[in-house]
């Protein structure tokens, strides 16, 4: 399965996307790409001048994806950094889901980027991750 995402019809006030990838690691990275694409008009213009690593844990993999995306939203709003995942490593020890990720990107600048939506949160509305024969698919609703 080729990793990627597309924006789909969702709740009327919000933005929804479906991401897919062959692995959970790739799925989380694709979801971070969707978040950047929702935020700026040209995601390919985001350069990797800043780097951060994060580690998160939640009771299940869907809540972990929610937390991961909300971490990216927080870094943008609180620290002014527009970041996507360069690499993600998801593990599922018993009763938990954990990740370690390396995030790359740049300080958010109106001079450098045409801004699109101000994503304020990833929501739990209709949130799901499903296993497919050739990988995983996630559906996420972003509050804008």
């Amino acid at each position: 399965m080729k990793a990627g995402f597309e924006f789909v019809e969702g709740a009327t006030s919000d933005l929804a996307f479906v991401a897919q990838a062959a692995t959970l690691d790739g799925l989380f990275a694709a979801a971070s790409d969707a978040l950047v694409a929702a935020t700026v008009e040209d995601p390919s213009a985001v350069v990797p001048s800043e780097r951060r690593t994060i580690a998160l844990a939640e009771p299940d993999v869907e809540l972990l994806l929610l937390r991961f995306l909300n971490e990216l939203v927080w870094l943008r709003d609180a620290r002014g950094l527009l970041l996507r995942a360069e690499s993600v490593h998801v593990t599922r020890p018993k009763g938990e889901a954990q990740l370690e990720a390396t995030l790359v990107g740049e300080p958010l600048s109106r001079m450098r980027h045409a801004l699109a939506a101000d994503v304020k949160a990833a929501t739990a509305h209709g949130l799901r991750i499903e296993a497919r024969p050739d990988g995983f698919e996630a559906r996420v609703t972003l509050d804008v």
Binding site: E9, T12, D14, W74, L115, A117, D118, V144
Partner: protein
Amino acid sequence: MAAPPILRRVGPACFELGTSFRERMRVPVRVFGSEKLVAEMDDQVFVQAANVATLPGIVGASFCMPDAHWGYGFPIGGVAAMDPETGVISPGGIGFDINCGMRLVATRLVWNEVEPHLRELVNALAERVPAGVGSRGFVRLTDEEFGEVLRQGAGWAVRAGFGTADDLAHTEAEGCLPGANPECVSGRARERGLHQIGTLGSGNHYLEIQVAHAEGLGDPELARAFGIERPEQVVVMFHCGSRGFGHQVATDYLQAFLRAMPTKFGLEVIDRELACAPFRSREGQDYFAAMCCAANMSFANRQVILHRIREVFSDVFHRSSDELGIRCVYDVAHNTAKLEEHEVEGHRRQLLVHRKGATRAFPPGHSELPLDYRRTGQPVIVGGSMETGSYLLAGVASGAASFYSTAHGSGRTMSRTRARKLVRGGALQEQLAARGIVVYAASLRGLAEEAGFAYKSVDEVAEATEEAGLSRRVAHLLPVGNVKG
């Protein structure tokens, strides 16, 4: 788009879904609206309102306002009152943008005085009231000072020189919810909100210059009591909330509630966005205290924005704000949960009223209204799309049927993704300019998503609130200049 067949009319512009509609419903669903508006509601509105009806402690009914549309968890335009002793508090019933609301500002200026300066005004407002992703305000605060904002709300802004006591008197709850405790707010939320005072936000947030044409005055006497007293009078209306700060508070507690519900409270909900905690639990009380902080940040934000509006008008017209008659008509929120006294089956009871995309609309005589509005009822500000205008309404006694709640806007009928496929932001900006509406947009993509055709008719919504007895029409206000987030 289909109302369920068991939906039955129970009054003028009022419909009911009985508890047999979905399993575990504790109370019926009541939907206010004309037959047309209700028929056009997305079927998810009814499902979501029915899900809300399953929550512990809900009293009376799960209500939908005439502008209700599909949200996450709760419908937007939903009202749910909970018994504070046996019921729950739910972040999803308040909305992520805690205390998002509307402020209407009157001026003594009339349209022919403003028209020559319109573009200059719109550009100056866009510069002084930053909008869009990552925008930062001019107010520089330490973390300690931000804590005072969270405790004092709009009162902090007035004490800091950004407004008057009269502004506070004309703000819901005088701009401060008393239950705020900054210790219940995460450091991450505080860091996110620290620089956001005085910013508009994005999405459907806006700041608009409007004109009250004589033919739009549904009740000229009430309009005069609210300060709209001359033909072609210019007013300013804006819509914004607690910015990323409120969202972080909601996100933090939603995630905490999701973790605690199965293990600590034995609560199971149909949709994760209905995550909740018993109001009297430590978690419920902590969220309420944090929500009050976000509400206060939002009141302070709108107060600082009013100060910037005063600065801009003074600069452009070379007259003081007092000479220009710039005064706050009213500030009212539409994303809150508040403890209020209501009559239920003949008895006064305290209830925790969740309003998500619904406006409080107290009737004439209510003790929480400022003295000059005791006779009129509470002003209600209903924002429409940037093309169709907005409404000033007033609360009425028959609003008791919805715990004194009414509509908050015109309500979307179309997803953002679809709206963007139908029009480009630049083209829309040109079309509006041709109609005499000057628009500054922080994001052209965002502008396209807010096109008028993506919304219900605000005229129909305002009319339906009157038919349903939730509020009455006072004035229709038409846009001439808009700063879009």
